[in-house]
């Protein structure tokens, strides 16, 4: 009985954390541009060629 109540509380808290994370990410604009981040991550930090071969 009390185990169920504890589990209930935990499950609601975990779900709540995800809800807050979702709302936060929408607010930050993480879904505004879905095209550039996947491209951006592939770039080197510094250009590796100064002259074209």
């Amino acid at each position: 009985m009390s185990a169920i109540i504890i589990l209930l509380v935990i499950s609601l808290i975990v779900a709540g954390v995800f809800l807050v994370a979702f709302l936060y990410s929408v607010k930050q604009g993480q879904f505004d541009d879905e095209q550039s981040p996947p491209i951006r991550i592939l770039f080197d930090d510094t250009p590796n060629s100064t002259k074209h071969q």
Partner: protein
């Protein structure tokens, strides 16, 4: 390095286009033009040649050279201020729209902009919107130099008057918040309802009560926050004395909530919280799918988006930039090559060759001499000219048309989808069943009245109709979007489906604005004569002469003497002792009768030889499109051009089609109105500002664009020009939309009938409701997706 004989096609290292016969060579790389080479050199110096490794030929062709002081207006703080998003002591944040952006190389180069100028602190690209947010140190570098730097590497910022005024519409974040909250509450309520459905031990009274109260708690955010979406919709429609689908849905939500609240508080049952939150959740998903907008497109542009932000004004002490609204009467303006004329005025210096194609639909530029009136909206080609303003921007002939009240106000006073009407009948039927149930139980067992009536209201909410509608619309919108036919909103699908008459513009819509087709008729010319004519034609900057020179190819090596050009009429000169004359019929032959075609007449040695007939180049597969459309629609063409191609068009469209020439913007608008007054539902397909009125007046206005990111007049839909031949398929898909909505609605009614069977008996258990509701929602979603995808696949669309 040995000169290499170029036999195969050489493509430009920068932009990948054909270099022609004489490529520009730098560092053993070939370029199509000086512009591309210059961009390469800038990048090479900056150590940014990775640009060329990330994707092949990533650049865009640098044909039009941007004049040196084009961005001078950005030095004027009053013009620059509205563009700047944020500014403090050291930094300025500005966001530029860069239409040339198209690939990963572009993204990489732009985000490495700080390597080309150390005073640029950062540049962050939003690819979906084709925008770059640039932060720079304004003490060291000006806004103007930033714009010029972007231009120098091939990304000219597009700055227009309307940028300043309004932010672009985005997806409403509030709706997504509501969706998130509804999803959270729905899932948890469902979880907490399981024990009771699965038969929790009756002795665990406290636990049962705990679950119920938790459900009640979790339903509050849905009832008071998420569902406001529908409350607002219902309230708005009631204010307009129109009952839309939101009203019965709100009623169902309230009834469900009130009954559940009562059951929990009195301890008589567990309520229908899962059904209620589930309905709200699924309906929000549908709404969001349907509302998906194309962030990079704008459907609401008016002429201000087309006009430049500032022009050059001449005054006693030199020239200065002046913002468009600040142009006063009697100002003298200098108009550069490729610049738009911002206001009506009189030409005071230079010879103007004005391309009105976008404004009036005339396919060829018009020559204007000093002292003539030039109208706003035309594009000057050739040399710089000066003009005296005689009407302010907002008062000019064409801007006045776009400012007309009837065009400004919202398109249709109230858009009424068939869904709303159907929902009304549906609601009456539900009330009827509820009334009969109440009457029955009143006689037989009055205690069951409230129970059964509320159950009927709960189960028979028209949410299935709304769901099938929003999901089908959303899916069709995104399918059309994948095929580069972008609709403004879901209502447009219905408007297109209802149409029975299609009106086309000619110039720029059916024809490709840029290219001309030339054919010759008359006495056969010897190759030598052809070369003479080519030489003569190549002396002139008139587009017809240019087109003929290009058509004939090789020019005579001899020299030309006594060359004269009579503006807009023709050319004279003598080559190898022969007097050659080419130009309009009047210029060459002296009479001007019965000549509707665009043609250039040629005489050699004062003897008429023949004429070059210039035709617009029709887009590919247009013939096929019309052969399809002729079957189901009445068609018309409204053209601002001359009647030269009447026979051809009549053939194309069929005998019954109306074909009208010399149509001004007002005529087009009135023609659409006239058609509508005879009860026709009209689709207008057009491209230019001269069609703007007609596009707005029509039941569905479709703007054709060679590049969707360029300017298109306000419209309901934008179609990529190359997809125009598929228009009949797109229309078919829109017509299928209604059938899919109705059939999935009918299927969902079957679920409702099952539900009502329990409800009228007054024993609708929460579990039955909880099974029926998601089952009907999911099957609607599946049916609508499957049906629309099947239809699209049958039509051969992506």
């Amino acid at each position: 390095m040995k000169p290499v004989a170029v036999s195969t096609q050489v493509t430009c290292f920068h932009c990948g286009e054909d270099c022609g016969k004489h490529p520009v060579v730098a560092q053993e790389l070939q370029f199509c033009c000086e512009g591309c080479k210059m961009v390469y050199e800038i990048l090479n110096q900056g150590g940014l040649c990775d640009y060329y490794n990330l994707s092949k030929n990533p650049g865009s062709r640098q044909t039009s050279i941007v004049r040196e002081n084009k961005f001078a207006f950005l030095d004027d703080p009053s013009i620059a201020q509205p563009l700047i998003a944020y500014s403090d002591d050291t930094q300025t944040h500005v966001s530029f729209y860069l239409p040339q952006m198209h690939c990963s190389s572009c993204l990489w180069l732009l985000e490495n902009l700080f390597r080309l100028n150390q005073n640029i602190i950062s540049c962050k690209v939003n690819f979906t919107r084709k925008e770059a947010e640039i932060i720079f140190n304004h003490r060291e570098v000006s806004l103007r130099s930033v714009a010029e730097l972007l231009t120098s590497i091939g990304y000219e910022p597009y700055i227009s008057f309307s940028n300043i005024k309004d932010a672009r519409p985005g997806v409403s974040k509030a709706k997504i918040y509501k969706l998130g909250v509804a999803g959270f509450c729905f899932a948890n309520i469902m979880l907490l309802s399981f024990p009771e459905y699965l038969g929790i031990d009756g002795k665990e009274v406290n636990l049962v009560r705990l679950f119920r109260y938790l459900n009640l708690l979790l339903s509050f955010p849905v009832f008071f926050y998420c569902a406001t979406e529908f409350y607002q919709g219902a309230w708005r429609s009631l204010k307009h004395k129109f009952l839309n689908i939101d009203a019965p849905i709100v009623l169902a939500i309230w009834v469900t909530f009130a009954r559940s609240l009562y059951e929990v508080l009195t301890g008589t049952g567990s309520g229908y919280f899962d059904s209620m939150t589930g309905i709200v959740f699924f309906m929000l998903v549908g709404r969001i799918l349907q509302d998906k907008t194309y962030a990079q497109l704008s459907f609401d542009r008016d002429y201000t988006a087309y006009f430049p932000i500032a022009v050059t004004r001449l005054n006693n002490n030199g020239e200065s930039s002046v913002a468009l609204p600040d142009i006063k009467l009697n100002d003298t303006l200098r108009i550069h090559h490729q610049e738009l004329i911002p206001a009506d005025g009189i030409l005071t210096r230079g010879k103007a060759l004005i391309d009105y194609s976008f404004v009036t639909g005339e396919s060829l530029p018009v020559v204007k001499e000093m002292g003539e009136i030039i109208y706003a909206g035309g594009r000057q080609t050739g040399s710089n000219v000066e003009m005296l303003v005689i009407k302010e921007v907002a008062q000019s002939y064409l801007t006045k048309l776009w400012n007309r009240d009837e065009l400004k106000s919202g398109k249709k006073d109230e858009q009424r989808s068939f869904v709303h009407l159907t929902s009304r009948y549906f609601t009456w039927v539900v009330f009827g069943i509820a009334a009969i149930t109440a009457a029955y139980w009143l006689v037989n067992d009055p205690t069951k009245v409230a129970n059964s009536v509320t159950a009927v209201m709960i189960i028979a909410c028209p949410c299935a109709l709304l769901l099938s509608n929003t999901f089908t619309n959303g899916n069709i919108l995104s399918m059309l979007g994948r095929n580069q036919f972008y609709l403004r909103n879901a209502q447009t699908i219905e408007n297109i489906a209802k149409a029975n008459h299609i009106v086309f513009d000619k110039t720029g819509t059916l024809t490709n604005g840029a290219s001309l087709e030339i054919s010759y008729e008359g006495e056969l010319l010897t190759p030598q004569q052809q070369q003479w004519i080519a030489l003569l034609a190549s002396q002139s900057a008139h587009p017809l002469s240019k087109a003929i020179a290009e058509h004939l190819g090789d020019r005579s090596p001899e020299s030309i003497t006594g060359f004269t050009e009579t503006g807009g009429l023709g050319l004279r000169g003598s080559i190898a002792g022969k007097a050659i004359c080419m130009g309009s019929k009047k210029f060459v032959l002296g009479n001007k009768q019965g000549d509707e075609k665009t043609a250039v007449y040629v005489s050699i040695d004062r003897k008429y030889r023949g004429r070059f007939i210039v035709k617009n180049h029709y887009r590919e597969n247009i013939v096929k499109l019309f052969s399809k459309l002729r079957k189901g629609y009445s068609l018309s063409v409204l053209s601002g051009d001359n009647a030269g191609e009447k026979d051809f068009l009549q053939n194309l469209l069929g005998k019954r089609a109306g074909i009208y020439f010399h149509q001004g913007p007002h005529d087009k608008l009135n023609m659409i109105k006239q058609l509508q007054s005879t009860g026709k539902k009209v689709i207008m397909v057009g491209d230019g500002l001269n069609d703007a009125g007609a596009l707005k007046q029509a039941d569905a206005g479709i703007a054709v664009s060679d590049n969707c990111n360029n300017f298109t007049p306000a419209s309901d839909a934008i179609i990529q020009a190359e997809k125009l031949p598929l228009l009949h398929k797109f229309i078919r898909l829109c017509r299928i939309n209604k059938r899919v909505v109705v059939s999935s609605f009918i299927i969902s009614i079957l679920y409702n009938v099952a539900g009502i069977y329990f409800a009228v008996q007054g024993n609708l258990s929460p579990m039955v409701a909880a099974i029926l509701m998601p089952a009907s929602s999911l099957s609607i979603i599946l049916i609508s997706f499957a049906a629309t995808n099947l239809a699209a696949w049958k039509l051969g669309l992506k």
